[in-house]
């Protein structure tokens, strides 16, 4: 892993806001794609051994992504993301809410603000998550189970399989 890359995680409990900053060893364009294209998002957008599956994604203002997080046991947890604003390659904001598989949202959800900037080939991503309640934030983890036996090795295998296919 790239241990020299910055990872900051701060929670302002009083403001009900989570601040995340992470650097990636790749250009801004590529990192932007990884956050905004369904086929790429699905390859990293759930912590292993969970996986993400996007049903559809219209990445445009007023557009929507409908996706599920799937546990190793096959349990699906659906969520809907509505895009509020998009400044290509620089920033996008969305409203995330959990839902059933028919897109019936459980409100309130949380507001997400993503910013991207590049310096010397390193792209910095800032994420701000505002939750109206802790219960909502808690739901971001609901159903998540961490399998200790399964490691990132599985993911590496998957990625090498994928790169062979390309």
């Amino acid at each position: 892993m790239n241990n020299d890359l910055l990872f900051d995680f701060n929670v302002d409990k009083a403001a009900k806001t989570v601040y995340i900053t992470r650097e990636f060893s790749a250009g801004q364009s590529l990192v932007w794609d990884a956050f905004t294209k369904a086929d790429l998002l699905d390859q990293w957008g759930a912590p292993a051994p969970m996986r993400a599956k996007t049903r559809y994604m219209n990445f445009e203002v007023g557009g929507r992504r409908v996706y599920a997080m799937i546990t190793p046991e096959g349990q699906e947890r659906w969520a809907v993301q509505d895009y509020i604003s998009i400044t290509p390659k620089t920033n996008f904001k969305m409203y995330n809410a959990f839902s059933d598989e028919n897109e019936n949202r459980e409100l309130p959800g949380s507001e997400w603000d993503y910013s991207f900037s590049e310096e010397n080939g390193i792209t910095k991503v800032h994420i701000i998550i505002f939750n109206e309640s802790f219960e909502r934030l808690e739901k971001l983890l609901e159903g998540f189970k961490i399998g200790f036996t399964m490691t990132l090795k599985n993911l590496e295998d998957l990625l090498s399989t994928l790169s062979e296919k390309h």
Partner: protein, 121 residues
Amino acid sequence: MHIYLQPRGCITDDKIMKQDIFQAIADPTRRAILTLIAIQTLTPNAMAEKFDMTRQAVSKHIKVLHECELIKPEQSGREIYYHFNAKKMQEFDHWLAQFRQNWETQFNQLDQLLTTIKEQK
């Protein structure tokens, strides 16, 4: 082997009325009460005096904090003293640490993916 990443206490315990820990902490008066109680135990009367509030207003805040288990009452003679429950705050912090861990896992996955894509080019 699996663990469920859910904080216990006011969030999941149905016996206690649902009270959101974020909501409890979000109120500036309740934060001030917590700060003060963390230093020394207080009776509701002493709190009312320190914050220049009515006994009724203090009771409301105490109720929220108590339901969230952020404070604990202790009877001493005829008075009830409230303690800061550091364990509850730790539980909350522990839960947040798990949340952070999930992000770390995802970002490491993204590192791998980015490397794979760059190698293909």
